[in-house]
Amino acid sequence: MSSPGGAGTERRLAWLRGGELPQTHNARTIAALASNPGCARRALLDAAATRKQDIAEHAGYPVPFGMSPFALSRGVVFERQLKDDPGGLLLALLRETLNLDIAEVGFTDLNDVGGSPDLAVRHARTKAVLTGRPDQRGTLFDHPLLRFRVGGRHAYLEPDLIAFRHDDTFHVVEIKSFAVIDGQADPAKVAAAAIQSAVYVLAMRDLVGDTATVHHESVLICPRDFANTPLATTLDVRKQLGVLERQLSRIAGIDSVLAHVPADVSFSLDADEKGVPQRDPGDLLRDIKRVDANYSPECLASCELCYLCRDEASGSTSVLGKSVREELGGIESVPRALKLARGDDPLPVPEDLREAAAILRRAASLRRDALAAARAETW
């Protein structure tokens, strides 16, 4: 047995991935860890850093997770107007939101490492700059390349934020293009931004090696009302930090997931030199299904494999949603729930289902009576 996250694990994950390079994580993929932490299939696909969207497509279940060009360009335009003049608009916003008394601001683009695409080089530079002696004035760092431990391994985080330092404190600054209208924004989008911010805060804390210097209050910058004028709001991400730390510590246990997965399972697409998958789709699908999933309709918004898992789960009450399953007394199978409700199963009801059966039978009889009463209009 190899040590957790050790070479053995690494080898297995590489095998799962097939000859592919690991995908780089970004805050979104890490934040997504929080959306179905009970799913071994997803945990494994993520830990192995596979291309989930391609896998789903090749297995016969493409997902329409496309992004509209309009949304993309809107995001770019909004972000550019802020970054083009960091000493103006951006600084003014930060000054006001964080209540600071800073007259000017430095701007350092950490993406710019003499054109070196090497992640390690870029990360080293980020680290050197961010842990260096603080400037007297505030400084904005664009595109810091962070590193993050996921599943016991280091993953690079594609930068999508600005780090703002004043005195000895860093704030994560996130620029998003959803609107804040009269002080309100789409709560689902804010939640996503908050958890991404929390990922950045954790990664930054890891980098600078000191919890206190990276603040738990992030700054979220969004367009205000219907215009392109930016508006900054602070976002307290302490809750998200707690959740993430816990989820990540669980993922560190990817070995325990691997222990339940047969050694020959692979998610490889067997791509040829041109990147075209050569693997038999049926074979890939079979391998995917050998790893346990935990489907619920929430997956539809958060996981590339949703259509595959939903199809696999058909006939199970979990496709109807958690609250439905709960109301059905936790019965897993649709035909069984129906049989119990109708009470027409010739076999005796197993002991552990008796209570649920009684509830279902009662619901069925109430439903029957009510429908009959409505027909007879005797109520």
Binding site: A34, S35, G183, Q184, P187, D236, R250, E298, G330
Partner: protein, 445 residues
């Protein structure tokens, strides 16, 4: 800490609060952890204000609470000055309890106009909201202010000049049956608590704390404090030696119910753990276990020794509570208790156990037997109420598997801009309590 020390700390805190009432421009908020002497403070403050010559209105949330306060206050006023009268303002549908009627110095009436010569008048917030009067009360004392919704405060706030708000921030938040986002982020969101709105608009209003719990034993105070009051820690007034739970009759043979009770008697906590299974929420085994534990306490003639009395006092049925999350669970437990012939034990949901106190509580864990958690079941306030009602011991009944369920819980709750984050997070508090309970596990057969 010894009781004397605790009493000193509590007295200091109270005196500081009473003294500060002289000078504050508008009012004071007092956070009171479970059993920290909230009612005592309310009564003392009322007497003190009356003594200083003010007319005082007392606002509580339920008739039950008003009657309780009136009872204690009437006794205190009588000690103080035989001529002072307290008024009990009540509404059509309420019958004033005997514990109010027995006091000579209490006048009960349906209209505030009949209580003009009472220096202090007590009623529910709902009743106060119907009072129209041009006269302003110098002071109001608002009890259970964290459970009062801010729209109700809006209706009564015109009646008084200054106010003392007392309440427990760790219990259940008020809620509304209509779910609309339209007020989220507003400083006066009508669905939030009275205290929250008040503080949003009055940052000069100081927030004080009561530092010691008279109710919770030394075994519980640190656990509850850490899980539910992470930023406002409190301690138990009593030391472990000062509270004892013992049994008059010894157990014969070896069974898990007795083992759980004995562990709880020894350590203050027990987790009575049923085998892992997904069950409907009226899980028969779990319900029966709750009833059996309560009945067995009575059978074995449990008794307590505490600072209240040097001689052991029997744990009578009214000193035991069974707490649940849902009403149908409470109904099921009551039926199971009736079958066992154990009458008089209080069985209720967390909502209705708020503000109450018992020697021993038995808790049907809100997550027991579930496949997944919902915001309702995770709510920190619910678990806080259930695990902080006892003076001696708390036995939690649950199916195995709650930590796994918590770990698999997706954290995708929506986030509203400009709404302060509420601590503790239910999910984290649940984890903390489970981590503690795991160390007090007794496996049920």
């Amino acid at each position: 800490m010894s009781i004397a020390e605790a009493a000193d700390r509590a007295r200091l805190a109270t005196e500081e609060i009473l003294a500060s009432m002289e000078s504050v421009p508008r009012g004071v908020v007092v956070d009171s952890p479970p059993g920290a002497g909230k009612s005592t403070l309310v009564v003392r403050a009322a007497t003190e204000l009356v003594r200083r010559g003010h007319r005082v209105m007392v606002i509580a949330q339920t008739n039950e609470q008003v009657d309780d306060l009136t009872d204690v206050l009437a006794g205190r006023l009588a000690d103080h000055d035989g001529d002072l009268r307290a008024g009990r303002l009540y509404s059509e549908s309420h019958r004033v309890g005997w514990r109010v009627e027995r006091h000579q110095n209490v006048v009960s009436a349906k209209s505030a106009g009949e209580l003009l010569d009472c220096r202090v008048v007590l009623s529910t917030a709902h009743k106060w909201a119907t009072v129209t009067s041009d006269e302003q009360w110098a002071w109001a004392i608002v009890d259970e202010a964290y459970q009062m919704r801010s729209d109700l405060l809006l209706r009564v706030a015109g009646l008084f000049g200054k106010a003392l708000f007392v309440g427990d921030p760790g219990q259940l938040d008020p809620f509304s049956v209509v779910e609309v986002d339209r007020w989220s982020g507003l400083s006066w969101d009508p669905t939030t608590s009275a205290v929250e709105v008040l503080l949003n608009h009055n940052d000069h209003v100081p927030v004080k704390r009561l530092p010691v719990s008279w109710r919770l034993p030394a075994s519980a105070a640190p656990v509850v404090s850490e899980a539910f009051y992470p930023f406002n820690p409190f301690t138990a007034a009593t030391s472990p030696q000062e509270r004892r739970l013992e049994f008059g009759a010894s157990a014969f043979g070896d069974n898990s119910v007795d083992r759980a009770l004995e562990l709880a008697a020894r350590s203050g906590w027990a987790l009575y753990e049923l085998p892992r299974a997904h069950k409907p929420r009226t899980d028969r085994e779990a319900v029966r276990a709750c009833a059996a534990l309560a009945a067995r306490l009575l059978e074995r003639a449990a008794r307590t020794v505490s600072e209240r009395s040097p001689d052991p006092l029997p744990v009578t049925p009214d000193r035991i509570a069974v707490g649940t999350a849902h009403r149908d669970q409470a109904t099921a437990v009551r039926a199971a208790l009736a079958e066992l012939g154990a009458e008089g034990v209080t069985v209720d949901t967390a909502n209705r156990l708020q503000g109450r106190e018992f020697d021993v509580t038995i808790v049907l864990h809100p997550l027991s037997g579930r496949r997944d958690a919902t915001a309702f079941h995770l709510e920190a306030g619910r678990l806080c109420v259930l695990t902080s009602r006892h003076r001696h011991a708390c036995v939690v009944v649950a199916r195995k598997g709650i930590p796994d369920l918590l770990d698999a819980h997706p954290s995708v709750e929506p986030v509203h801009l400009n709404v302060p984050v509420k601590f503790p997070d239910g999910w984290e508090a649940q984890q903390a309590i489970m981590a503690h309970l795991e160390r007090h596990r007794v496996a049920a057969p």
